[in-house]
């Protein structure tokens, strides 16, 4: 496993896709700030209270960990392509021939994909948050503990990208082809977005335990609650927020494990060409 991780990290380090992902992680925050500044300038929103409420740092920060937004959609696709290239180059075959267990090959890819996804999104998030706080007004509800909320927010972000890495790795090693991996990864993100959007419109309390089974719901909940001006669910107490956070994390863990088990099962059984 250790030697496979070494090989996969070396491959990742040498991959052009890593370089492109890092460039995008720097470019997207700059573009976002430019876009928001442009909109604010055109709408003459600077110094305007309504403008500050609509297009502020909260809005920008609230979406940094969304995997249906900007880089969030690109990163899992890149992770999937990197895994697919290992198969199409035949280097994955070399690993099996050299006596590595298929489960180790799979898990090594999963770990590298997770670290790739989390690493790139964290870089993107840091830059975006920094620029947003510099250029736009930020509002905070003083009744909420900033440190706890930031911790929830960051942990959710990291967990959601670790989760989506389990999806892209599973798809890449099941399809073993770049095109279907890209399409289904994007579709997967979109379907989750649609689910979340629909659920957010429903009074969530009666179906609370069902909605928490759906990954990203929890993340969207926290994003919207803490960093978005809409503040839809701000009436929840700190205690229930902790429960929601834990349930959401468990949801990611549960579905991430399910995806990994499905991927492992299929990958171990299939003949490699």
């Amino acid at each position: 496993m250790k030697r496979l991780l070494k090989a996969d990290f070396y491959h990742l380090r040498k991959s052009r896709l890593t370089l492109i992902a890092l460039i995008l992680a720097v470019a997207f925050p700059l573009l976002t700030v430019l876009l928001f500044s442009g909109i604010r300038a055109i709408g003459e929103l600077d110094g305007n209270e309504a403008g500050d409420l609509l297009l502020n740092a909260n809005y920008v920060i609230g979406s940094v960990f969304s995997f249906t937004n900007n880089l969030g959609l690109v990163i899992p696709v890149f992770a999937g392509i990197i895994v697919c290239l290992d198969y199409s180059n035949g280097t994955l075959r070399n690993k099996v021939i050299a006596g590595n267990r298929r489960s180790s090959v799979y898990l090594s890819h999963l770990i590298v994909s997770m670290l790739f996804c989390v690493g790139v999104i964290v870089l993107y998030a840091i830059l975006t948050v920094a620029l947003a706080l510099i250029f736009f007004p930020f509002h905070w509800d003083p009744s909420l503990n900033l440190g706890t909320e930031v911790l929830y927010f960051v942990l959710y972000g990291i967990m959601s990208f670790a989760f989506i890495a389990t999806v892209s790795t599973m798809l890449a090693l099941i399809f073993r082809s770049i095109a279907p991996t890209i399409i289904v990864t994007i579709l997967f993100s979109m379907v989750l977005l649609i689910f979340n959007s629909v659920i957010m419109l429903i009074d969530y309390e009666p179906i609370r335990y069902i909605v928490y089974l759906i990954p990203t719901f929890g993340a969207n909940f926290f994003n919207l609650n803490d960093f978005n001006i809409l503040g839809i669910l701000s009436q929840t107490t700190d205690a229930s927020r902790g429960v929601i956070f834990a349930e959401g994390m468990l949801s990611y863990l549960f579905f991430g494990t399910i995806h990994t088990l499905i991927g492992l099962l299929v990958f171990r059984k299939r003949d490699l060409r």
Partner: protein
């Protein structure tokens, strides 16, 4: 010691046998030539024993460790293989690919050792040091593939069509490398359709057709049992056949267009004496021994030995 043995190994794809009940035996120090037409099942068998595909039935042992054992992963580390084509990352250089292979196999090699290995397979490091493998010719990739196999210091190397894409010089270099490594104790399983190349290096051959192993024979036995023949060209093939048949001392005489072939341990002096005494004008007499190619064709029953 048996390096690889298969016991009635079979693989079925979509209801058809790609490999059917193959039992082969490769001993330590062998250079085993695996011969068969396209689609005969050579690559499928190699994919089975390298762990890329699972057998439908039957079993195999690597270094006498059965494939059902957990230890199979350990002994697989003593194996290197190129299956169909040399596989490597096209966006990396040769040296980077070798480094990756070092990580995969858990072997520690210095950069100098890897550069020496590049040279050993006939690639000029200075020429290719900055070139991505995607820009290599097929022959260059094949050579690099062999270098990647050699990285792990494997003592059993499986090469599926290693001569593909190589120029004559490359042929010689790869052949010399195989022989050199074999002298150092490395066992080989080589599948190839270039039978003349196999004949020069193999110690044993296995002939496979339509998924079934037709024969497994040591080269010395093949040569010992090889059917010798005398090919005679005279001014009249009919008269030559008539004269030799009338003599009655030759086991098998075959007349072909413009020539007559006498099979078996015939005495060439007697043949010449008969023909000259009958007043026939002898243009040429050639004593030939069955080659691996002749043997293969005869085994498959595809044609007569020319």
């Amino acid at each position: 010691m048996n390096v690889l043995t298969t016991d009635r190994l079979s693989k079925v794809y979509k209801g058809n046998f790609a490999v059917k009940g193959v039992s082969l035996h490769i001993e330590q120090g062998d250079i085993y030539g695996f011969v068969g037409e396209n689609g005969a099942g050579k690559t499928t068998l190699i994919r089975l024993v390298t762990g890329l595909a699972a057998p439908t039935s039957g079993s195999y042992s690597l270094y006498e460790v059965p494939n059902s054992s957990r230890e199979i992963f350990e002994v697989r580390r003593r194996t290197g293989a190129i299956v169909e084509t040399a596989t490597m990352s096209r966006s990396m250089t040769a040296l980077e690919n070798l480094k990756t292979q070092c990580y995969i196999t858990g072997v520690e090699k210095t950069e100098e050792e890897l550069i020496a290995l590049i040279g050993r397979v006939g690639l000029n490091y200075e020429e290719i040091r900055r070139r991505k493998v995607g820009k290599f010719s097929l022959g260059m990739r094949q050579r690099l593939g062999i270098a990647m196999v050699l990285v792990s210091d494997a003592d059993f190397i499986i090469l599926d069509e290693p001569m593909n894409g190589l120029d004559p010089q490359g042929f010689i270099e790869v052949r010399e490398t195989i022989l050199k490594l074999n002298r150092e104790g490395v066992t080989f399983l080589i599948s190839s359709h270039i039978l003349s190349e196999l004949e020069k290096i193999c110690t044993k051959i296995g002939v496979i057709s339509h998924g079934e192993l037709l024969e497994e024979i040591r080269m010395e036995d093949l040569h010992r049992n090889a059917r010798r023949r005398i090919v005679i060209e005279t001014d009249s093939a009919d008269a030559t056949e008539e004269a030799l048949t009338a003599d009655g001392s030759f086991a098998e005489i075959v007349k072909e267009t413009g020539r007559v072939t006498v099979y078996g341990d015939a005495d060439v002096n007697r043949v010449m004496w008969i023909l000259v005494s009958k007043g026939l004008w002898v243009r040429s007499v050639n004593m030939l021994e069955e080659t691996i190619e002749d043997h293969y064709i005869r085994l498959l029953g595809r044609g007569r030995i020319a």
